[in-house]
Point group: C2
Chain length 348, copies 2
DNA sequence: GATCACTGTGGGAACGATGCCATATCGGTT
DNA sequence: AACCGATATGGCATCGTTCCCACAGTGATC
């Protein structure tokens, strides 16, 4: 960033173009281009003169024009569901860092959980001719649409088209199994599951992990203990209240994402239940608040920034090898045991 | 990779251009442009034919080319300090929503608190020829640089160049005064201030508010109770430990942002102090965790998404009137009294 | 002294879209 | 019959950049 002084040549309306630099340096536009980008011949003295002229004029190449000519974009699109959720914010932060270090800019779209906004964003990215798109998809539509337009897509966190589209996800099944097994080992058998949905991709896998762990503990899935409540604190809060008020309430709850965990936590607090004496809680995704509360919440921690960074890396591999086999990267998760999980109250 | 070479008309590799649409519809490029954008004459049947051809080809206009020709960009740059901090994430979410509703795309740069990254981002935005930039600045440099390049800047949350650059901030002084007055009214006099810095813009104003409230309560600022610890949880945590271990520890703490509040909260928990019996805490910026912990933290709540949205609105006003007087918008804050603040222990 | 390789530079055609201007057609008026 | 305004369309320059190609100069080799 070169700073300009007072009456800079910039301050008069029109932005300097390569032509202005060429005239100032007394060479042709071609030579300026070569001198500044470093591709092709340029005598040392000429190069220096051009660079000085460019600096004096405050010339900054127009990325639009360059991209138009080269037909190669240096920006990536990122579509996330909800920036206000720390998970997506961290994801975006991770993607941003990796993109920056590779000289890419990041165009971000927060869909606020709206399907329309997701499609809109995809269209905008096609129009912008981004090099690729990273998305936490809510349906297969985005990937299909972008794929049809020849834009590489990396599905993150959830993956609707494994084998067709690249993906970067975490070990959902293993993580959910570890979390639930942890509860089983503490003696719990009536373990509730709060989850957004159980049919697709990530939700399905977490449900599988939960169910496997129960089976290994000799218990079965009790349908009334499985709550599918979407991505909504209010709803999960209400349904947690209902469930925890019942006399045959579960002794432990596994909340499959940080939003649902928040609803459950609020319900527990509201009912004055003691954690973990009355009810244990374990969450998938270690949100910041979970280590602020008391007791701290046991959680399956994901390297969320790493997820974003890995997605950008995967995208670049894809750009380098457009026809390579599509790949799903699975990142490890880690169960962080904290105070919110304890022995089942029914047992000694 | 399977996705290419489907049955779609797109899959010839090359993306369809306006020329392809023109040929398919049997008209000229000009006519296509007029028919699709709706500016200028186009017979109904021709318009329809063109639209159908465009739809069939999956034609999406190239924003780059359009922008280059029109010299008017429909994207804005947003520079925030740290997306992982809920404050900045909410700000970005607010800006994104408002931008989307106005048909703008958002290019986001997270500087990770690095000054270099801030400059880099500014440069990238000049190169991208964005319509304007919204920034939570860490120095006056960004605004100066972008201003010199004729790019409108809106400074958000902090403002280094009031009267020169537009700004959108909150009532820092009033908010800090209310927070501190609340403590004073509860009988506190030894009130510590944790703040990032006290010399510029937002930090200075919050310090002023704190100091005014103390004065109104008949107390003076005690330098050793004012901790400037930057944007760093670890540092504020350590210094809070030091301060709260002393026998003459403060009876209340005002943490001037959510990061510092986190450090203080952790220190309080670590020392086993009771809140608010042993020490009261009030924070500036109501982060999500503050209503999850027990007791909940009294905080000065800002409409953070509103801040981002207001910045985008201000930017558009600026674009409509490039030479208008520069303006600083001040958004109201609201003290949310919760359980973390109580009567001073020394008094009855 | 002709040929060649190499260095260095400029001219000009793209890239994909827009929008000014010229032109064409047509019903209606002078 | 000439002219008009309105409607409708195409031709072409243009935005800022890159990069292919032509060309000029310079030594060195045959």
């Amino acid at each position: 960033m070169t700073m300009e002084r007072g009456a800079s040549p910039l301050s008069r309306g029109r932005r300097p173009t390569i032509k202005d630099v060429a005239e100032a340096a007394g060479v042709s536009r071609s030579t300026v281009s070569r001198a500044l980008t470093g591709s092709g011949y340029a005598a040392d003295d000429v190069r220096e003169r051009v660079q000085r002229a460019a600096a004096e004029l405050g010339y900054v190449p127009d990325v639009m024009a360059r991209t138009l000519k080269q037909q190669i974009s240096r920006s990536i699109g990122v579509i996330v569901s909800d920036l206000r959720n720390s998970f997506y914010a961290d994801l975006a932060a991770g993607a941003n860092g990796e993109a920056r270090s590779r000289g890419y800019t990041m165009v971000l779209a927060d869909t606020s959980l709206s399907a329309d906004a997701e499609s809109e964003a995809a269209e905008a990215f096609v129009a912008l001719r981004v090099a690729g798109v990273i998305v936490t998809p809510n349906s297969p539509k985005v990937s299909t649409y972008l794929g049809a337009h020849g834009i590489p897509v990396i599905e993150v966190d959830r993956q609707f088209a494994p084998g067709v589209t690249d993906g970067v996800v975490v070990g959902n099944r293993v993580g959910a199994r570890e979390a639930t097994t942890h509860l089983v080992e503490l003696g719990h058998r009536r373990i509730a599951l709060f989850i957004d949905e159980t049919n697709w991709t990530t939700g399905h896998e977490r449900y599988q992990g939960y169910s496997e762990a129960l089976a290994m503990g000799g218990a079965a899935v009790v349908p009334e203990l499985v709550v599918s409540s979407g991505w909504d604190v209010a709803d999960s809060h209400r349904r947690a209240l209902d469930m925890l008020r019942r006399p045959d309430r579960p002794t432990a709850v596994f909340a499959a994402n940080n939003v649902l965990a928040e609803g459950v936590w609020r319900a527990i607090a509201e009912l004055g239940l003691r954690v973990p004496e009355d009810v244990s809680l374990v969450a998938f995704d270690d949100a910041p608040w979970m280590s602020m509360v008391s007791p701290m919440v046991t959680a399956v921690a994901q390297d969320t920034m790493g997820l974003g960074a890995a997605a950008v890396r995967r995208l670049h591999e894809r750009l380098d090898a457009p026809d390579g086999e599509s790949l799903t990267t699975v990142l490890a998760v880690r169960l962080v045991v904290r105070g919110s999980t304890g022995s089942c109250p029914a047992l000694p």
